[in-house]
Amino acid sequence: MMHAIRKPAPWTIAAGAFALYLSAVTTPVDLALGAAIVPLPLSTALLMPALVYALLILMFFPRVAVARRLAGAGLLCTVHALLSLMTAGLYSAIGFFPFHEALAQAFVGFPPAPFLQILLAPLMVLPFRKHFVPRQPHLSERLSAPLWEGPWIPSGPPADPPSSEPVKDFVLDPVTEEVRVKGPEMEEANQAPSWAEVARLPEPSPRPAIPRDGAEAAVGASARMGQSGPGVSRREKRPSPPVAEKSSSPVERPASEDQEVPGFTRSLRASPEGTGRRPASDPVKKVIQIPFDWIAGQLPAEAFLIPTDRLAARLPQPNVLLIPQDLVVPQLPEGVVQIAWEVVAGQFPEGTLALPHEKIAEGIHGGMLRLPLDEVVRQLPTEIFTLPLRSAKVLGIEAFPLPFQPVLRDPSVSAAAPADSLKVPKGDSPRSGGLEHGGIQRLERPADASASKSVQAERRTPEAQEEEPLRACTPATENDSPVRPVELSRLTIETGRLSALLAPIGSPKVDVEVTAGAMLFIVSSPQLAKDALVSTAIRLVPVLADSGDLGAIDQVTLRASGGAIILTPFFPHGPGGTVLVAGLRRRGSLAMLEILCRRAAAEYRDRHSDLLAPIETPVRERYRAPELRDVAVPGQVDLLVGSMSAFGPLTPSALCDETGSTLLYLFSGPGVEANPLARLAWGLYHALTIDGPPDGLWPLRSIALRQGRQRIVIQPVAGEPGRSRLLVAAGAKAGHPGLAHLQVGRAAERLGSL
């Protein structure tokens, strides 16, 4: 404070104000000499300044203690009196009046003088206000102050403390384990210990001792970090919680409040807390105890000169380290509590550490020591975790019955199974080789892949019990998971990669949509609405998943008057999950886009070969084909076989659904079964029509499916109102897909004209 008063700025301001006053108070007297001036009443001249100053103090320093206010008012009155005396001296020196008359003029006889003094006194004192009134932090500073800041680790050389440092009084309340620092020395005590102080810490007493030095260091570090969160004040108000009673850590506590502790007796005796009374003005610091082993495990192994068990016994509080609660509480909402090495460094006795403190701090993983949250929470009162929130009751839910009622199942299904008894069903097809239970299916994973508990549980299905045993699987753990450091989101990478793969058609933008249980990577031309693509895709994808005996479909190309859409499932053997949906307004580069999409899907599969294939996409019952019956093949249809040479040899057939509303003319090549083919065609067509055509695309012209080298083309046949007719051609030879499509189109036209 004295250093601050010696600053020149306040004095310069005061001197300037005083000079202005002198000129102001002299000039009017000079002008008014000889004039009749009415003096002020004496009472007014004496009381008015005091009242004005008191009002000023009240107005501008509302939160200052009464004693300070009185002192301030007194100071202003004193300055006022001094100014009056100096004014009188000035009048006398200039020769206006003799001194005794000038004194009267300065106080009461010449009214402008006291008014100017009332004005000047605050002006002169104002520059020094910081030194008389404790500065309150600005509101913005308080709001922006973080609840928790990382600790400051000193990096420079240690500074020697003053040699004549007084003994500080710290008191540990034996009941509450609160470390209290006596008021007059609080400021010094709350300074963090320098490394030199830390190094001079005394050896602990052989008997259990109150952790004077450790607590001092911990409290000091806490104070330096500026902890003043709301949790602290709330905690200080609560009535002495029995923190230690709740702790099960092996800490011996004094038997009673009056017990004297070696090495600390003098302070204890000198303090009124030794009697158990606590002055209201004493700051209270509470600590929690953390097992030393927990902290030691996070420190560099080479940090200690002696074995950790011996070091633990030599700690000020054997086997535990003390952490101020005000460091811990603000971190509780984070789900993790960390402290700096500095907080506990002072509790290590001299000669036990092999490394300098800076090296130890650098050797801590992440720079912070993580505290055991269970220990921390256990030692804190439960009211800290009580939040004043409204009730969790949700009004009105009782009006609805329980929407879902589980059915009882065999409890063994969910029980953990011995790994060596797990079974998988036999089978040849990709689907039957997987694990199936109640609709959940997973394709067979690589032999070295691990399995989670949930999958193990799934495997204990009754159907699987009699199958061949699966080799032992190890449950996956967090450490086993191949989580790679990914800077960008995986989806960003995927969309970027797809865009690059499709670059020959102009590096289109790739969007991602999650809907109806499928993830769609959508590539669309600007003229084609994305909604139309999504709407079409979510209708067709479930039908593709239900292709049944026909086998997996690699790609679907839908041509309509409004554009063309290509669907390429990334996993053809389980078409749900991820699908690449590409749309084109014009069909000029359709063939190239088909090729690029297949390449992209293959590349995706290669990169994600460790993925389990998707299980299934929900199949909409109403898109599922009904039973179809054979009908007689019209003679005109037989004649069309020869016109579709691009498919190779074909066999004509005709099927109709139960209601007769859909008639399918089939031209199937060798090895292609007519009925599954017809069911797939029926499902695809009705998926597109049953809920109305997708916006912006209709009318449908054709649907082309690629299945390996096989090509399937579905073409609506016009001509019969109220009845749908489809021409379906499927052949193994698809060397000329363009020609095949053209021939089917011509055949459909001829059928429609018949």
């Binding site: 269970d374 975790f385 949700v394 329980l402 609709g439 995986r490 989806l491 996409t617 929900p618």
Partner: protein, 202 residues
């Protein structure tokens, strides 16, 4: 938000199971799928990596009761819990009607719970959803493990935004608490859609 098909008299609701990785979101859906009658469930879609970590999402459509002549269907989704997959989480959250936050009760997973919950709030704000208005249920999973945090502290960590939301203890792998959670979020969604008047539940 909910999708109403007036022609088919069906309302579709979207419920997302959110939470940190390995908290048990997929286990919840698997149990629901296992225990619901066949007529009330569709097939479950799941895309997982070789170690059974959810890659994109899990999906399970389930049908519930009929309210005011409309069949209610719930599409249950999970999200990938791993931190780096936030874009996927945001995609799955689009149009959400209710959220089940599945928290891992173990002490050493609490930080991940808090981060995931904050990520949820952040993603909801990006969609202009008010986390205080959206139906949310907390599920404290893995209560059968040995080192789990007390419920009071879990509530302190996660149930602290505005008003308290319902929370349940659960062991999803064995089914404990799974249907309590699902039924509560479903009814909260129904209340938010139809109001507190039941009006013709069948």
């Amino acid at each position: 938000m909910s999708v109403i098909n007036h022609a088919a008299k069906v309302i579709n609701f979207k419920v997302v199971y959110y939470g940190p990785g390995l908290a048990g979101k997929t286990a919840n859906l698997q149990h629901v799928h296992r225990c619901l009658p066949d007529g009330n469930k569709g097939n479950m879609t799941s895309l997982a990596t070789g170690d059974d970590r959810t890659l994109f999402f899990d999906f399970l459509p389930v049908s519930a009761l009929t309210v005011r002549g409309f069949a209610t269907k719930f599409q249950l989704y999970t999200v990938p819990g791993q931190i780096q997959y936030n874009m996927t989480r945001k995609l799955v959250l689009r149009g959400v009607d209710g959220i089940v936050f599945v928290a891992d009760s173990q002490w050493d997973r609490l930080r991940e719970n808090v981060e995931s919950f904050r990520n949820l709030e952040e993603n909801l704000r990006e969609y202009k959803y008010d986390p205080g208005e959206l139906p949310v249920v907390l599920q404290y999973n893995k209560r059968d493990m040995s080192k789990v945090a007390p419920l009071g502290y879990l509530d302190f960590l996660l149930n602290r935004s505005g008003k308290r939301v319902p929370s349940f203890e659960a062991v999803a792998i064995s089914g404990t608490g799974v249907f309590e959670t699902l039924n509560t979020i479903a009814r909260m969604v129904l209340v938010s859609e139809f109001g507190q008047e039941q009006g013709g539940v069948s």
